[in-house]
């Protein structure tokens, strides 16, 4: 058993510095199912999310039914394992907690995974606890609305050092506080990472161990940090996006949205020019499947944006998430009826739906005629839509 498993907190009192989160979980379990039926523990890795869920089960003498993201989470799997479980009584203990670890791991391949989870929350007669790193991704939005959200913060340096000290004492290898501090710094608040590192040095003498505290684990960089560095600093930044969970194309949208918040005039022009170049290479990738061009897209949307200004910038800027995709989606909902009408009309007049959509105002008087509406076999809603047009 690894040290990090061995020293996993089993009870509330072993969980350090997470009193607030513990209180929230207690309230959640007490109130169940009157308020929310599910709870999401979110925060960076190694802050004790899974431990807290397991501790909650132990403290309340509940059985735990656990599913990891490594399990195949498709619709049929969920139905066969979880549906009955939500309604059966637990075998030995007085109740159950359903634990869905790492819900952000539910990906596109788990068809219906998220929607099934929502159904499950609606149906369950046992509390559900989920864990994830980033609770704010859009795909989790339906689950978010159904759940109580509890944040777990990264542990501070002192806490990690004192825990490492206790563990090394118990395990019988003594390390100097200075050495433990280095491990703690490197872990960046991730206790599990710190314990794993400690274990890897347990058989090595301190003098022989080189800890490079600048060598960070691949911590996911949030998009806000990426934007801040990109816009404020002047650097080559070719690897800036490497640790982002967002794709290059998604990042492009974030940059696009926020350029005018930072740059004015000359820099604004240069930045959009660079972004335009990035988009051109992306176009060539799409058209010719020439993936080598990715390096150019990356260079233009990193260094190209950073060097658009003459000097580094200061001050705090509040970046916003890209609005365009949402606007397009909302608009598509709004014009759906218009589109079905245009499609019918286009067939009749031998021309493309696109052209009719463009000329829609011009043809409005034509489709207001009852004879034409009949000829087009318009539905009642479509007729109402047309008749309401100015």
């Amino acid at each position: 058993m690894s040290l990090s498993e061995k020293y996993r907190a089993k009870k509330y009192q072993n969980l350090v510095k997470q009193d607030k989160a513990i209180e929230e979980v207690k309230t959640f379990l007490n109130q169940f199912p009157k308020k929310k039926k599910a709870l999401i523990l979110y925060g960076p890795a190694g802050t004790g999310k899974t431990s807290l869920a397991l501790a909650a089960a132990t403290e309340n003498d509940l059985e735990i039914l656990e599913l990891n993201s490594s399990d195949l989470r498709n619709r049929s799997k969920l139905e066969e394992t979880l549906r009955p479980a939500t309604q059966q009584k637990a075998l030995f203990k007085k109740g159950k907690i359903l634990l869905m670890d790492e819900v952000d791991g539910v990906t596109g391949t788990d068809i219906g995974g998220i929607s099934e989870l929502v159904k499950l929350i609606n149906l369950t007669s046992f509390p559900i606890i989920m864990t994830c790193n980033d609770v704010w991704q859009s795909k989790l939005s339906p689950v978010r609305q159904k759940s109580k959200l509890v944040e777990m913060k990264p542990l501070d340096l002192g806490t990690i050092i004192s825990l490492l000290m206790k563990i090394s004492e118990k395990e019988g290898f003594i390390k100097s506080p200075h050495f433990l501090k280095k491990i703690a710094i490197k872990s960046q608040g991730d206790l599990r990472a710190a314990i794993n590192d400690l274990e890897s040095y347990s058989q090595i003498s301190e003098s022989g161990a080189e800890i490079d505290i600048t060598e960070k684990r691949d911590v996911q960089t949030s998009i806000f940090n990426i934007l801040r560095r990109l816009f404020k600093e002047r650097q080559d930044f070719l690897d800036l996006f490497d640790n982002s969970e967002l794709s290059l194309d998604q990042i492009l949208l974030w940059i696009e949205e926020n350029i005018p918040k930072e740059y004015k005039n000359e820099a604004l022009v240069k930045a959009y020019h660079a972004l335009g170049n990035a988009d051109r290479f992306r176009g060539r990738i799409y058209k010719n499947q020439h993936w080598r061009f990715l390096v150019y897209q990356n260079a233009f949307q990193s260094a190209g944006i950073s060097y658009a200004k003459d000097n580094p910038l200061e001050g705090f800027t509040k970046y916003e998430r890209p609005k365009r995709i949402l606007k397009i989606w909302l608009n598509n909902q709004k014009i759906a009826k218009k589109k079905t009408i245009a499609k019918k009309y286009a067939r009749l007049v031998h021309c493309s739906t696109k052209r009719i959509m463009r000329d829609f105002k011009m043809i409005t008087p034509m489709i207001k005629q009852e004879s034409v509406q009949r000829k087009l076999r318009m539905s009642d809603e479509e007729v109402a839509y047309v008749n309401n047009l100015r």
Partner: protein
């Protein structure tokens, strides 16, 4: 009642003689049809010059009353992917044509909307069904059609309709519909149609829905109110230095009226010359606009290129472009 009260359809020419303009093309196509055999045809030319109309006339002349069973019309810009096109062609080509003519006709409108890869696939389809089907394809620019397809077709290049040609068709309509269209009214109609007969007729009908006595002002008003994108506001915001305002306005305009980026660029290019800025700046902005239009054809996201262009306008507003 088979008549629809949509004038572009009601007054669509149904015989060679009714068609206006394109006289050379008509002569050649007519002789092909009289021989009861046509090769694949490619009609290239601007919108509203008679490409679809001529295709319809060809099948009506060939098949008479039975034209509907022997004719398939597909619009490449609406069909989702070449696979859909191929499947439809396959289903259609399965049954035989009527006795004296050994082929059916497929009209593929806006064929230049297909990607090069899709066109390659289409070329295979053309070959597979060459015994039972003839293709008539239409496009705005024949240069956007791959060479192998061009070489399998007889190409006809349609020209913009002249004023007198459009007048002929409009006169037929005004007489039949008892409209009173003064000469200045027609001039305005022609101006805003830009040689596109479909547009002229649509504008005429939209205006006539207000009153049968049509003046120049009415035409101008209807034409202006039906104009999809009001790009001037967007440019005004940019020149005043409000980039974010300009950008929001641009996106709203594009979404509301389903206007493509290319259409926006076209309006910008025209609108530059009406702006209150130094003529030399206008020239430079035109250069930027042309560059943006070109970059748009290479990129994958038109809106990114449009924003780059708007940023140039912001600079121009400060006299720094």
């Amino acid at each position: 009642m088979n008549q629809t009260n949509i004038w572009t359809e009601k007054y669509r020419p149904v015989t060679f003689d009714e068609m206006v303009g394109q006289q050379e093309i008509l002569k050649r196509v007519k002789s092909l049809v009289q021989a009861l055999n046509i090769p694949h045809l490619l009609f290239a030319g601007p919108a509203g010059t008679g490409k679809s109309t001529l295709a319809l006339i060809v099948v009506k002349e060939l098949f008479g009353d039975k034209w509907k069973e022997n004719y398939l019309e597909l619009n490449a810009s609406d069909e989702r992917g070449i696979d859909v096109v191929r499947q439809k062609v396959k289903d259609f080509a399965r049954t035989k044509a009527i006795e004296n003519i050994p082929f059916k006709v497929i009209f593929l409108d806006e064929a230049d909307a297909l990607t090069k890869e899709a066109q390659q696939a289409l070329r295979r389809t053309m070959e597979n069904y060459t015994n039972t089907c003839r293709f008539i394809m239409s496009c705005n620019y024949s240069s956007r059609i791959i060479d192998p397809i061009q070489s399998r077709c007889v190409i006809f290049r349609f020209k913009l309709l002249e004023k007198k040609d459009i007048k002929k068709r409009i006169d037929v309509i005004t007489q039949n519909e008892n409209l009173n269209l003064v000469e200045e009214g027609f001039n305005a109609l022609y101006e805003s149609s830009e040689g596109d007969c479909r547009r002229a007729i649509n504008l005429l009908q939209a205006t006539a829905s207000i009153s049968p006595d049509i003046t120049q002002d009415m035409i101008t008003m209807v034409s202006a109110s039906a104009k999809p994108a009001d790009i001037k506001v967007v440019l005004d915001y940019s020149l005043a230095g409000d980039f974010i305002g300009a950008r929001d306005k641009l996106l709203d305009t594009m979404l509301k009226d389903s206007v493509s980026g290319t259409d926006i660029i076209k309006s910008i290019q025209k609108e530059i010359w009406n702006l209150q800025i130094e003529p030399s700046v206008k020239v430079r902005l035109t250069e930027k606009t042309g560059e943006a239009e070109f970059r748009m054809t290479e990129g994958s996201d038109e809106f990114v290129q449009l924003q780059a262009l708007l940023a140039s306008f912001v600079l121009a507003g400060r006299g720094e472009a």
